[in-house]
Symmetry: C2
Subunit: 200 residues, 2 copies
Amino acid sequence: MDRAVGDLTARARIRDAAIGLFGERGIEGASIRDIAAAAGVSSGLVRHHFGSKEALREACDQYAKERMLQIGAELSAEAGVSGLDPVALHPVAFPLQLYLVRSMMDGSETATALFLQGVDAVEEWSAGYGIKPKDPRGYAAALAAIKLSVFILRDQVSKAIGEDITTPAGYNRIGQALMEVFTIPLLTPEQVEKLNQQEK
Amino acid sequence: MDRAVGDLTARARIRDAAIGLFGERGIEGASIRDIAAAAGVSSGLVRHHFGSKEALREACDQYAKERMLQIGAELSAEAGVSGLDPVALHPVAFPLQLYLVRSMMDGSETATALFLQGVDAVEEWSAGYGIKPKDPRGYAAALAAIKLSVFILRDQVSKAIGEDITTPAGYNRIGQALMEVFTIPLLTPEQVEKLNQQEK
DNA sequence: GACTTGACTACACGATCGTGTAGTAGTTTG
DNA sequence: CAAACTACTACACGATCGTGTAGTCAAGTC
């Protein structure tokens, strides 16, 4: 029988279902039986292919990481994009990003390593861009965290602006708003100096 | 017997233990037995005082919300602070903030309402501050989310900068870095315009 | 054609979960 | 003093969890 496009193997379906459910409900919140049901297989098959829940999670980590890097490479190849990469907004990358953040929050080393890699990238980019923060590393870490913030709080942000940011329209809107955060100086250097003195 | 300062009632100890464990491990990750053990009581007493896990969570939501607003009011009374409020950095507020974010991510209405309240505050403040974004609501939502991002990813950010941001020193450092994000314009309005045209 | 191998299911296991029940000790109330 | 109430513990319950075991079935191998 021919395999139609999107007609994945059971192993791939399990992995995709796991990434989806883990990302939505967290690692603890999604049971192997839930994942098996979502993939349309028995729970035993999950164990057969991945051995344990922890191993399944590591496989998801690895796959999500590779796909994210792959998508990022594709996007930066087809257009010279700026440091505020649009990877996170890519339709395929979206569930991957959700999963990685959840996994990261639950202590995944792979996901954390990917974050650190992102911080490195931001740091290099900002240096090449001519930005000279007093603390380049801290600056890059803050920017990297900010890039994920809207993702993590997607439900709350959606509710706040009255528009689902997981749709292209809402996504665009919050993307624009984020750009304005980076465009409008909220504080002048003088104000920062003043605040620093208050703290002492 | 006199009650020493900090010698809380069992009910308060349970609530505080729940906020701590829920915040660290997530709602699903912390069992009633864990919470009871952390509070030094039997698991039955948790049920006696709060009825159910869901009710315990709602009590934690309510308490955390009230305490956060209370701390915020105290801080803004003792010093006219700017819109980038230092509430989140207050030592007492820290575990409360951790809890609220977790609860929010797990779908708490109370925590989400507090977030929306924060967006309102940011929007009002930025308007009074003379900031004129094209999308004031989206801008405020993005800023509110950013304020929480460093919190949520505290472990990863700490690892990235090689310093624990839950300590005063590390906290100060990442706070400064965040201020620089708001001080240094990353994109000029012309660049934003250019990016918008690319998307179409 | 017998044998092996891998994909897959069905089912049972111990542990842990939230919850329910029964009962004790101490204080308050009439 | 007795009754009632509150704080609290011990323990048992059904459900669900991750995991383990046994076995089916089809495809490939010699």
